[in-house]
């Protein structure tokens, strides 16, 4: 896509102020900035415990120009359900309600409430910004942490022993009208998906890869490069799923091996070449499954 088109696609309007409290190079801050550009100011945010509980700013400040309700860890989807019901009860069917949660609040502790809301097809957008561990509490593993990764609860001698939970398939299996993945390195793709989601009614789920320099042990100038490499290595494919059936790969750059992506991150430093080969095999298998879904549906 040319520079000209990207410039036209991304609104200049900023709904996130520069005085937020994110770490340098934070992918989660960029993700919020881009998503709000896509949604606009007629948006209410339900924010369960996550890095963004800090990034948004302490009382009485807020780095957002939209209303924001801080809430308990596992309640992003359920509080968003209540906000939406209240708006509709008073005749407002236009304001977008967005739950904004990290991977812990989505893959782990908030999954029950999210599944309940998705099954009821609650009319909100749920964004999970995924930095692949509990970063706000100091880098503990979540079920979004990939196989082989170091965290403070999966030390290098015994790194993460399970592959990352396939949250998109779980949400798609609820048959919700729209589910998609995106990254902060592909703002055109991200904003296009947010706008598409905004135009749909029912539960919409956007899974955004948001690299975390301290948690991934990478440079704070490498966030965007890492997210781009994750897509090229097919570790994090850019997808959308409509009605749980129609799978589509929205961006499919020339394939690259996983090695360089992993070697760029200190959290994978302990991995042997054999480990990396095993990860490559896992990634390849998941890609085959994905291609089959794109071809056959479901």
């Amino acid at each position: 896509m040319s520079q000209h088109l990207i410039k036209d696609l991304i609104p200049r309007e900023e709904l996130l102020d520069s005085g937020h409290l994110a770490c340098p190079g934070c992918g989660a801050a960029l993700a919020m900035r881009m998503v709000l550009k896509g949604l606009g100011e007629n948006t209410i945010v339900a924010l369960p415990a996550c890095c963004w509980s800090i990034i948004a700013g302490p009382w009485p400040q807020s780095s957002l120009h939209v209303p924001l309700y801080h809430t308990a860890f596992e309640t992003g989807a359920s509080v968003a359900s209540g906000i939406k019901a209240a708006l509709v009860a008073r005749g407002d069917t236009e304001t977008t309600v967005m739950a904004w949660a990290g991977d812990g609040g989505t893959f782990d502790i908030g999954l029950q409430a999210l599944s309940g809301a998705a099954e009821r097809n609650e009319d909100f957008i749920y964004c999970c910004y995924d930095n692949e561990a509990y970063m706000n509490t100091g880098i503990q593993r979540s079920s979004a942490t990939p196989w082989g990764a170091w965290t403070t609860t999966t030390p290098a001698a015994h790194p993460e022993a399970h592959p990352k939970k396939d949250i998109l398939s779980i949400l798609a299996a609820h048959g919700i009208p729209y589910a998609a993945t995106a990254t902060i390195a592909h703002p055109d793709d991200l904003i296009a998906k947010i706008r598409k989601a905004k135009g749909i009614r029912g539960t919409r789920f956007i899974h955004i890869l948001a690299p975390c320099p301290p948690g991934w042990k990478a440079g704070d100038d490498e966030t965007i490069a890492l997210a781009r490499m994750a897509v090229k290595a097919r570790v994090f494919p850019l997808l959308e799923v409509e009605a749980g059936q129609r799978w589509r790969i929205t961006l499919d750059p020339p394939r690259e091996p996983v090695g360089p992506y992993l070697r760029k991150q200190g959290r994978f430093r302990h991995l042997s070449d054999a480990d990396i080969a095993q990860i490559q095999e896992l990634v390849d298998r998941r890609w085959e499954t994905l291609e089959r879904r794109v071809r056959d549906g479901g």
């Binding site: 924001l68 309700y69 008073r90 029950q112």
Partner: protein, 400 residues
Amino acid sequence: MKKVMVGNHAVSWGVKLARAEVIAAYPITPQTQIVEELAEMTADGRLAARFIKVESEHSAMAACIGAAATGVRAFTATSSQGLLLMHELLHWAGLGRLPIVMADINRAVAPGWSIWTDQNDTLAQRDTGWVQLYCETNQEVLDTTVQGFKLAETVDLPVMIVLDAFFLSHTSEPVDVPDQAEVDAFLPRREARLKLDVHDPHAFGALTTPAVYMELRLRQQEAFDRAREAFAAVDREWAERFGRGYGALESYRTEDAEIVLVTSGTITSTTRHVVNERRARGERIGLVKVKMFRPFPTGPLRDALSHVPAVAVLDRNISPGHGGIFAEEIRAALYDLPPGRRPRIDGYVVGLGGRDVTPAVIEDCLERTRRSQAEAAAAAANGGAEREIAREDIWVGVKP
């Protein structure tokens, strides 16, 4: 209009009259009839509310929090394990100052599984920042439900309406259902002072540093202080409009009483019966019913009990390692009365897990207090030391 209805439906009718706008609920025995009736009312259009059929009580309270924060009137109902599951979010609603109304059917806590009544579920939520109002009759349940919304929205505090499993929840009584137009005049649509509003964006519940957290708590405490008078005003207005009032507590035949029984919930009705029989025999026995547990009606209790020689508190609950919870709180409230005005306070633990509290059980408590009072009086007459308060609450109606 008089209708015969169970206590659960008295809650539903109260919620309908209050025109709740968002209801989020999850089934649990013995509460389920409340939300079944509300589901019917919303389905057939008698109540214009959004009903969210959530996947847990935790999500029920979370949805009510989201709805109340957006400025509407929100309601849920639960019981026992469901209430315990909500515990984290009860604090959120409390300190978030959200005027949610919830009915809880008092049901004992497992294990072993019990669906029968006692108060340990609600009393375990004592410090979550909810007003707690315990009811004796189905009429009181309906009235308190509507009053609860007005109180909640006056002081920006959540309100819990509490009633006994089965003895009220599933027992039919005649209930006078007020006219909707009159209730509308009593309780107009909620207009929130602060809410989630895209035209006036604010962040709620953000990181609160040690420099400001205590003030947040102080504002909450001040709201509870105001809730005492606010409830009295709401109750007065209700009485003026509908001819029924309840008070934070009720003194029943306590004039010149030598012993006053203190109760809450449906034990109160049985105790009234015992008091009437004793009075008919010329015995000076009275009753104080505690309706409001939070804020604790310290002043009214001191007024009601400070002239009484002996008090017997009946607790359908137990704080393991301490004693009956009402008894402990009443002792604390009366402790600094001058010795001559401070009653002897005996605590009795009764009726746990739905065990019947019959007139015989209440009379057993009464006789025990009469005996201990006589012994204390004899000791004092013999130049003994100041009367001691009972150290341990006595379990009555229990097998050895």
